[in-house]
């Protein structure tokens, strides 16, 4: 596979918490515009893999090139990627619009308008309500809006369907399709194996931190 076509090229990645290896000897390759599903049981290392690749945490072993940058070049990788995490990354006391406005002001490249993105995730009616009044599903939608605002070339989506209603499931599928149409690569850690399996180009299954 030619290197310039690869969005992610990871070899023997490892990460441990204390004495326990959460990730061990995991290698993967993902082309630009492709979707990879990361499957596995709870505690198998899916979240750790995404967080290492998104540079939220450091790897304790192995190497990876994300978007053409070695993992050590955190700022460059962060500039082209976005992570939808288990954590919402939201400020409870700010409104939905204010939360997106904060993100938009930190984005280097011109970002779409926060109001437009809120409309896209179906939250425009609650734009001026504080996040503390939102349900778990609404928070998830707002976190998704954060990802859209960043316009990433590589998106790391950790359990994107979690807490969402059936309409929200459709929204996730649409957004992933939209990202692919822009030649962005998507890494999805999920338990919705059948659903994501319909459109994923590749699958990696983790078990106790190792690729099966």
């Amino acid at each position: 596979m030619p290197m310039d076509a690869l969005a992610i090229d990871a070899e023997h990645l490892a990460r441990r918490f204390g004495r326990r290896w959460a990730l061990l000897d995991v290698s993967l390759q993902l082309r630009r515009g492709e979707v990879m599903m990361v499957a596995g049981r709870n505690g198998s290392g899916k979240t750790t893999l995404l967080r290492v690749l998104a540079t939220a945490i450091r790897a304790d072993g192995g190497r990876a090139v994300v978007g053409g940058f070695e993992l050590a070049r955190r700022e460059e990788i962060r500039g082209i990627s976005a992570l939808l995490s288990h954590q919402s990354y939201l400020y409870e006391s700010l409104t939905a619009l204010e939360n997106l406005d904060v993100v938009s002001r930190f984005c280097g490249a011109p970002a779409p308008s926060p109001a437009m993105v809120l409309e896209r995730v179906g939250l425009s009616a609650r734009a001026d309500d504080p996040v503390s009044t939102f349900s778990a599903g609404m928070r998830k939608r707002l976190s998704f809006a954060r990802v859209l605002l960043q316009q990433p070339s590589i998106a790391f989506l950790d359990e994107p369907y979690g807490q969402l209603d059936p309409e929200g499931f459709g929204l996730v599928d649409e957004v992933v399709a939209e990202l692919r149409s822009r030649d962005a690569s998507v890494l999805i850690a999920t338990h919705q194996v059948e659903r994501v399996g319909r459109f994923a180009n590749r699958t990696i299954t983790l078990e106790a931190g190792r690729a099966r």
Binding site: I57, S85, Y89, S93, V102, V103, F106
Partner: protein, 218 residues
């Protein structure tokens, strides 16, 4: 840094009820300290500066610790770092916002001190300058240490333990300068204490800005 400061001021505005509570805490501390001296007008006036800064110091641990609560609640700080926002900009935005909050608190506590300790002064511009430099001197290392302790369960206990020894020079200079502003400064010593405050601010603000990234990144 403007974006970071804007975000901090917005967060502070949304939780402004806490600022009122911190002011009440500081005013109560001043009141309780005055009980320790008793009805001795000369002694009250003599110790007023020390008690003002003690009240501000105790209040500062509440505001500094609280300033990272919103960042840790949903890992919002990590979210900003991943955008990517510069850790240095985030630090200076938060430290400046904390300094503003401490300076406003210090100014608000001055009338309380004047009433309780009969410690009026005609050198109000000097007193304002001391509060600005002292507030900034508490905020710079305080913001760094608040970040360090924000993920620890016993943060309310650990922050003062780490912070207080570090800010002794700032506290000493601020108390001496304030005391001279209240009691009179025939030997013109106040300027030397002010210069010491400026020097420590220079050291703290530059060093803490450099260290912040190491504290908040994995």
């Amino acid at each position: 840094m403007i974006a970071a400061l804007r975000k901090e001021l917005l967060l502070q505005w949304r939780t402004r009820a806490q600022a009122v509570a911190v002011f009440v805490f500081g005013a109560t501390a001043l009141l309780l300290f005055s009980f320790a001296i008793g009805p001795n007008a000369a002694a009250l006036r003599e110790y007023a500066a020390g008690f003002l800064w003690l009240a501000l110091l105790l209040s500062s641990t509440l505001t500094l610790s609280e300033s990272f609560h919103a960042e840790m609640e949903n890992s919002a700080l990590e979210g900003l770092l991943l955008i990517p926002a510069s850790p240095r900009a985030l630090y200076y935005g938060k430290a400046v916002a904390n300094a503003i909050q401490l300076i406003v608190l210090g100014i608000a506590l001055v009338p309380v001190m004047i009433v309780l300790y009969d410690a009026g002064t005609m050198r109000l511009p000097t007193l304002l300058l001391i509060i600005i430099l002292g507030g900034a001197g508490l905020s710079a290392p305080g913001t760094l240490y608040a970040a360090m302790t924000s993920q620890i369960r016993a943060k309310q206990m650990l922050l003062p333990l780490l912070l207080f020894p570090l800010i002794v020079p700032v506290l000493l200079a601020a108390v001496k300068a304030t005391s001279l502003a209240i009691l009179g400064d025939p030997m013109e010593q106040g300027r030397a204490w002010l210069l010491l405050l400026v020097a420590f601010n220079g050291i703290y603000w530059s060093l803490c800005g450099l260290l912040f990234a190491r504290v908040v990144e994995d």
